[in-house]
Amino acid sequence: MQSEVSSRAKNVTRYGCLLLAVSFLAGCKLPGKPKDGPEVPRPEQVLSFDELYAANCSGCHGAHGEKGPAMNLANPEYQALVDDASLRDIIVNGEKGTLMPAFGEKQGGELTDAQVNVLVKGLRAKWGKGDVLSGLNAPTWKATHAGDPAAGKLVYEAACARCHSASGSQPSKGGSILDGSFLAVVNEQMIRTTVIAGRPDLGMPDWRSLKQSGPLTDNEVTDVTAWLMSQKPALPGQPYGSAAPAQPAAAPANKISGKD
């Protein structure tokens, strides 16, 4: 009897100790324990690329830098084409003539210089694959001289028309890029970048295979870009056909802003 009681007491002590040890161990990493650092840091203290990209870039450039409506950032050729200073400049000041807004604090955005640097570094680390263009004789990112639109028209027919259609009014696989509204919301540099680096996420090849007879030369890229920009109408975006600009009643946007 005595031994039974004492063995039961021993059991109780043993289980008690075990329970204590388990709860102690669990106490070291209880799920409710706050993570290091404040729960909500000050906005300027956010210096993680993933957080900054998700909050500021993913809306237009896609959650993974591809298949978004705006530039394909996950394209290694794009990353190789644009240098750090220019990338930083685009983020801070925006790209004039396109819909890319300025994100720098001084321009009314919300990103500090340090955060822009994190973005530039992170873009390189995540999607850059080094200098993938070296030795390929790629056209330079910036045009070195003004293009010749007349020559550009021929380049367009040879390189672009098979997907984007020759006249812009026929349906085509890649959709028209001769639409006045489209040309009004992009600029020459954006077209040049897209021609050189392509849009691999959408199936558009880079400058090497646009033309069946061989890669586009730097001059050809400059010319075709110039021709495209020359196709921008004087009053782009008139909703009711190309004949409309002569009739002021068909320009609702102007009418509205005129009323204000």
Binding site: A55, N56, L99, A184
Partner: protein, 494 residues
């Protein structure tokens, strides 16, 4: 005689407490009140004690100054061993206390516990509920983060709307015309001395009356409360069909209180403390402040009220509601106690509960509020961009860049202020879309002045692609007639 017995006797000889305490403990209660329905009052009391104890421990570290409060909470969260757990216990304790107090109140009301002779117990209880909510609000302010800062701003602006004395009220509340160094010390004094002191005193009186008047008996349909006979009936009931409060009824109270304490500890350990969220710096505009759980319903109601009804609602409804609660036992102080015979009472409780639940649920996801980062942070769903023309893709960029997304969802992401756009082309024609974008209407601002004609065209072209595949696009029958009349193919060419 052992030494502790001697000490006890010495003390008892002078205090004379044994008689009244024993009397209170073994006083008979109706047999059926030894029920699990009667445990919420004692649980509220135990939670109050928990809040006092954890609150004292927190006050040892907390710095009630605007400059240091947030930092001292960070110290508790990160540097003191189990400091976070202490904060979590106090925070979850407060949530549980509000919840248990409300349940207690509903139970008492549905069981007719507010009727003669317990009217004043009910009135005190209403005051204690208000104090509990006062503790919750002042506690939320002491957790001095962005939510607290802006919540305080809302509180002050509510006070400022009181006619004639609004300005003075704000001054009294904030210690100045705006949130400043004196504000936090005021709320500290309220939260730590004034309200808890009053709450403890009221609790004492409330309990005193429960002991003196006896626990409300289990309501039976047809057992009518009459002022002339009730006291005798209750006395007979407890003496013919009663049992001693200790130990035959009290064990359920003890068991439930222990379970509640364990539940608080489990929530604290699992979910952790509440905040503090961002630093209380009004220059940080990237914040979406929200009140704590128990005030979410108010947040919702104020969001949905038309602006011209806000002030009347804020200043008239609370006094009426409080007056109504206090008036209940005086209006309905006798008669039936059973819920079977009080359909209005039962309906009222459920109606309020459903309204409260719906408003609270809305408050958790604030469909009325734009999501200010959706334009840059909510990707355009990839499937909405498959096989789109360059113009339509630029239209999607316009949609993002002009921040349409902040109010309009695509693929379940974005604001809910306006309708989701996933199927917009299914019910709006291209012309209607142009008109809506340019002129706004139906609670949407006009964007004509903010968009160039090219941007508008791109945006609308993108919007016209947004429809489910199997459904036809919205069409305008008159358009075909007009086209046939003029013989133009212009609209078709676009």
């Amino acid at each position: 005689m052992p030494w502790y017995r001697q000490v006890y006797d010495w003390l008892e000889h002078r205090l004379q407490l044994e008689g009244p305490v024993m009397e209170a403990m073994v006083h008979p209660v109706p047999r059926k009140t030894a029920s699990w329905w009667y445990v919420f009052g004692s649980a509220s009391f135990v939670l109050l004690i928990l809040q006092v104890v954890t609150g004292i421990l927190l006050a040892l570290v907390y710095a009630p100054s605007a400059a240091h409060a947030w930092d001292s909470l960070e110290v508790l969260n990160h540097q003191l061993p189990l400091g976070w757990f202490l904060r979590a216990m106090h925070g979850w304790g407060s949530n549980f206390m509000v919840a248990v107090v409300l349940i207690h109140m509903c139970q008492v009301f549905l069981f007719g516990g507010h009727k003669y002779p317990r009217e004043f117990t009910w009135v005190l209880g209403v005051c204690m509920l208000l104090m509990t909510l006062g503790m919750a609000f002042t506690g939320q302010v002491l957790r001095f983060d962005q939510d607290a800062y802006w919540g305080l701003g809302i509180g002050a602006s509510i006070a400022g709307r009181v006619p004639f004395v609004g300005g003075q009220l704000v001054h009294l509340m904030l210690g100045g015309p705006m949130i400043n160094g004196a504000t936090l010390t005021r709320f500290f004094a309220l939260h730590v001395f004034v309200i808890p002191g009053a709450l403890l005193a009221f609790t004492g009186l409330h309990l005193w009356m429960v002991v003196k008047l006896g626990i409300n008996e289990w309501p039976m349909p047809g057992r009518i409360v009459r002022r002339e006979t009730y006291m005798k009936e209750y006395h007979d009931l407890t003496h013919t069909d009663g049992l001693a409060f200790v130990p035959l009824a009290v064990w359920k109270d003890l068991f439930f209180s222990a379970a509640i304490l364990l539940a608080v500890a489990a929530c604290a350990a699992y979910f952790g403390p509440f905040g503090p969220k961002g630093a209380p710096d009004p220059t940080i505009i990237n914040t979406v402040p929200k009140p704590d759980f128990f005030f979410l319903w108010l947040y919702t109601v104020l969001s949905y009220l038309p602006p011209n009804l806000e002030t009347p609602f804020l200043l008239i409804v609370p006094p009426i509601a409080i007056a109504f609660l206090i008036a209940i036992p005086f209006v309905a102080g006798i008669g039936e106690k059973s819920w079977w015979r009080r359909p209005v009472a039962v309906f009222a409780v459920f109606f309020i509960a459903v309204c409260w639940g719906a408003f609270t649920q809305l408050g958790t996801y604030t469909p009325w509020s734009p999501q200010m980062h959706a334009w840059s942070g909510a990707p355009v769903p990839e499937k909405l961009l498959v096989n789109r023309t360059p113009l339509e893709r630029q239209g999607a960029v316009v949609l993002q860049q002009k921040q349409c997304r902040n109010c309009h969802e695509l693929g379940g992401m974005g604001g809910q202020r306006g309708p989701a756009l996933d199927d917009v082309a299914g019910h709006m024609t291209e012309d209607q879309l142009y008109r809506q974008v340019l002129q706004g209407g139906g609670n949407m601002p006009a964007y004509g002045a903010a968009l160039s004609p090219a941007e508008t065209t791109a945006l609308v072209k993108f919007l016209t692609t947004l429809k489910v595949n199997y459904a036809p696009a919205a069409s305008d029958a008159s358009r075909q007639v007009a086209d046939a009349d003029t013989g133009t193919a212009a609209t078709g060419a676009r």
